[in-house]
Symmetry: C2
Subunit: 208 residues, 2 copies
């Protein structure tokens, strides 16, 4: 397209690689930086490199962090025997937003798998941090609860089952394994709820 | 949020400034770069600066370009007396995609206003390239056609009317001023079309 300077075209192509960004959004984003101040362009440019240079995996939970162990793993106020297994670092952010235990939220620590078992994308158990999880649980002294918080979809369920079996096989009697509650999300419209969600909502009904 | 490294938080905030990017998309974009290769991060980082350094305004049409005059203004195959007035550089890209005249598209040149008159955002006519447009038309020797192609919304219409009056006031008899056709977009659903669109579609009906 002759109307687009080549360097703008390249920037659009880079933005298009971002998750959830299509050609039109990418173009709008590129033009935003043409119009934005030089400072704001320099800031983004530097931050992208900064993130790559400063951020690493926490040696304990594999969450992204600037210092390892991360602030969650090194927080003495958290229950180190309550371990939530999640797929991605963004899931940690979501649960952390819920607040700590005193505020009625989650007061434990995390273990980031780094994905889900997915034969379609050729991701096997050995590509995830499952053996690290087992080793971590084996190293724990007290009774522990493992909350498997993979996503409530096909791949998440399969991964949860695999992890459950792995832990069970090691007959860790002091380990309690739980899953997140399934049911209707807050604000849901019953009319539009899918079959499985409705079934789970009935199965898991609670007394008032 | 303790779960987020500070530098990631900052990158998310930068991404949030992009048009159409909310907090969740921004977080997903930031995490994309944590996972992406160093090369791809370096590429985006460099391109953002490149765009700022290499791209300028075309001295004739004010479109973004690496070389001024831009490839459209310096194209001898284009009709320099057919001038389309648009709000933004992205509009040039959209019309350029339609193709050149031989392919049944637009074969003329452009004039980028750099926005619309908008009292709400305190943008007045003097903030746009309207005086430059008048000067450009005055400098043209032959009969010319000016297609005012601002967006079909309130501010676009007001800007179009203002430009129309400005050109008329200078009694340029050899200037023909046109607007883009209004009516139903291709693929539209009549049931969901708004009142104004339907009215325009009836008013502007064409014989089969």
């Amino acid at each position: 397209m002759s109307a687009l300077p080549q360097v703008v075209q390249k920037l659009i192509e880079e933005f298009e690689k971002l998750p959830g960004v299509g050609p039109k959004s990418a173009a709008r984003m590129a033009y935003h930086y043409l119009r934005a101040s030089r400072e704001s362009a320099e800031r983004l440019s530097a931050l992208i490199l900064d993130v790559k240079n400063k951020v690493k995996s926490c040696e304990i939970c594999y969450n992204f962090t600037e210092n390892s162990p991360c602030s969650i793993c090194s927080d003495p106020g958290r229950n180190q025997n309550l371990l939530m297994v999640v797929e991605e670092p963004l899931d940690v952010v979501a649960f952390d937003r819920v607040g700590i235990k005193e505020e009625g939220g989650f007061g434990g620590v995390f273990h980031v798998l780094g994905g889900v078992i997915s034969p379609v994308n050729s991701v096997g158990p050995e590509d995830l941090r499952i053996s690290e999880l087992i080793k971590r649980i084996e190293g724990m002294q007290d009774c522990v609860e493992i909350i498997i918080a993979t996503n409530p979809n096909l791949e998440g369920e399969a991964t949860a089952m695999y992890i459950y079996e792995e832990i069970k096989n090691r007959v860790l009697e002091r380990v309690k394994i739980t899953r997140l509650a399934r049911g209707l999300p807050t604000g849901a419209d019953l009319e539009y709820a899918d079959y499985t969600t409705l079934r789970r909502a009935i199965e898991g009904r609670t007394e008032l």
